[in-house]
Every structure is written in C-alpha cells, then in structure tokens.
C-alpha cells in the first residue's frame, strides 16, 4: 500500500479560515455527525472530536487557511489537517503541554493553553506532524478501530 493510498477513502473535506473564531467547532461537529451516521463506536468518535476540535482551533489561531479531511478505512480512521500559515519553529517544544505562542486575544477566549497538539497526540494511535516555518503545518492522526 502506498503512502497516499488512504486518500481513496475520503469521507469529508472542510475548509477552515484563520481567525474565524466564531465558527470554531463547526468542522468538528460535522465530522462527529458524519462518523455517527456511519455507526462508528462512540469511544472512537469522542477521540476524533478532541483531535478535530484542537486541529480546527490551531488553524484558526495560527494559520491563514487550512483544509481538514478525514478518511474511513476498514481498520482505521485517518484525520488530516493541512494549513498555510506561520508554521511551527520547534515541534518538540510545541508538543510540550503548557507551551504556547498564543497571544492574549486567543487566551482570553480560553484557548492557547498549550494543550492542543498534546491532546491530539494523546488521542491518536499514530500521530505525525510536519511543519515548515513560514509555509504551514500538516498533522495526520490515525485512530485504529480495533473491531469497534
């Protein structure tokens, strides 16, 4: 199976715009509904809801634009968020719980606690992140269905 083979299993694809805090959670909510209608186990849906929400908020907070996609495979669900934006300078640091580069306007809304990427990683079975400074970030999470 090639690296991009999972893309044949696309289930949903959504645009997310930077600084659009009003709609934060909208994409996550649509993905959740989509997975429910597919009869996916609620434990899996809960984990993907966390992943989707954090990824969505990250795009809104730090990128100019992004695309969130999810793929339903026979044995797993793959979630992918690709954005165009400032990128992450030090991924190791960004993954540390509590580390954040959020400004006050983001923190006032209860975001920017430095838990986003850590939460995504925790909720994923396989977590991959690549980022290029000044270009953008790609997050890919795989959640195994394990018969659920």
């Amino acid at each position: 199976m090639s690296d991009t083979d999972y893309m044949r299993h696309l289930q949903g694809r959504y645009e997310v715009h930077g600084r659009d805090f009003v709609d934060a959670g909208l994409v996550s909510s649509q993905i959740k509904k989509g997975l429910k209608s597919q009869g996916i186990h609620e434990d899996i849906i809960r984990r993907i809801a966390v992943i989707a929400f954090e990824a969505e908020v990250n795009i809104i907070s730090y990128a100019t634009h992004g695309v969130i996609s999810y793929y339903l495979l026979p044995d797993s669900i793959i979630f992918e968020a690709i954005d165009e934006g400032q990128g992450i300078e030090d991924i190791e640091l960004a993954l540390q719980e509590g580390y954040s580069t959020a400004d006050d306007s983001i923190r006032e809304m209860g975001f920017g606690a430095g838990m986003g990427l850590a939460n995504i990683k925790k909720s994923s079975d396989i977590f991959e992140i690549t980022s290029e400074l000044g270009k953008g970030t790609r997050v890919k999470s795989t959640i195994m269905l394990n018969g659920k």
């Binding site: 805090f21 009003v22 934060a24 959670g25 909208l26 996550s28 909510s29 959740k32 809960r46 809801a49 966390v50 929400f53 954090e54 908020v57 809304m109 209860g110 975001f111 606690a113 838990m115 986003g116 939460n119 925790k122």
Partner: protein, 114 residues
C-alpha cells in the same frame, strides 16, 4: 440527577433551552481552558465555567454536556445563547463564584462523599 433539580437547589437562572431542563446530569467538570475541558470532561457532565463567549457551546455540544453553568453572575453573550439554543445546550447562570458552585454541586451529586 435532573438538571431542573440542580437549578432549583443552586438558584441557577436558566438563560436558554428550558425544554432541556429534564436533561440527566451524570457528573460535572469545572474549567475555563477549553482544551482542558475537551480532554477531560465527559458526556452528561454539567460544565461550570467563567467563560461567556460562544466557543463554550461548541465544546459542550461536541462533548455532549448536559448543561453549562456560568459563574459569578456573568452574562453570556447573545451569540452564545443563540448558538446554545440551536444546539439545545441549556445555559444557566449562578450568582456564586466557581468554587462555591462546584462545592454545592458536588454535595448534591455525591451526597455520601460530601
């Protein structure tokens, strides 16, 4: 425990979704950091927070909370109430602060451990 009972006992003012005051509250969570609430709260929780903006509704809807309680008599933004009405998430306001609200809630929900 039924949300309506909690609302009465804690003198909470319901701001929207009166029809969902029959929701069953199975536990609670308190927090103002949305990522913390996303990661650690559970479905059926009554969520106690000082945040008033509309993103709290997105979190409560995703986590399937029974209700949101806003503390310290703070006023939820109009957009927050509109969104909550759309999602069917009751928002209630407490005059007391977060510590007092959580303490009373805990006693109500878990009387034998109080």
């Amino acid at each position: 425990m039924m949300l309506e009972t909690i609302a009465e006992r804690l003198s909470l003012k319901c701001k929207c979704c009166w029809e969902n005051l029959k929701n069953d509250v199975t536990g609670g969570y308190a927090g103002d950091l949305l990522s913390d609430v996303m990661a650690n709260s559970a479905a059926g929780n009554i969520w106690v927070t000082r945040q008033v903006h509309q993103n709290i509704v997105a979190v409560a809807a995703l986590k399937e909370h029974a209700a949101i309680v806003i503390v310290q008599g703070a006023t939820p933004e109009k957009e927050t109430l509109d969104k909550a009405t759309k999602e069917g998430i009751p928002i209630l306001v407490a005059d007391l602060g977060e510590f007092e609200v959580v303490g009373r809630l805990y006693q109500l929900l878990y009387p034998s451990q109080g």
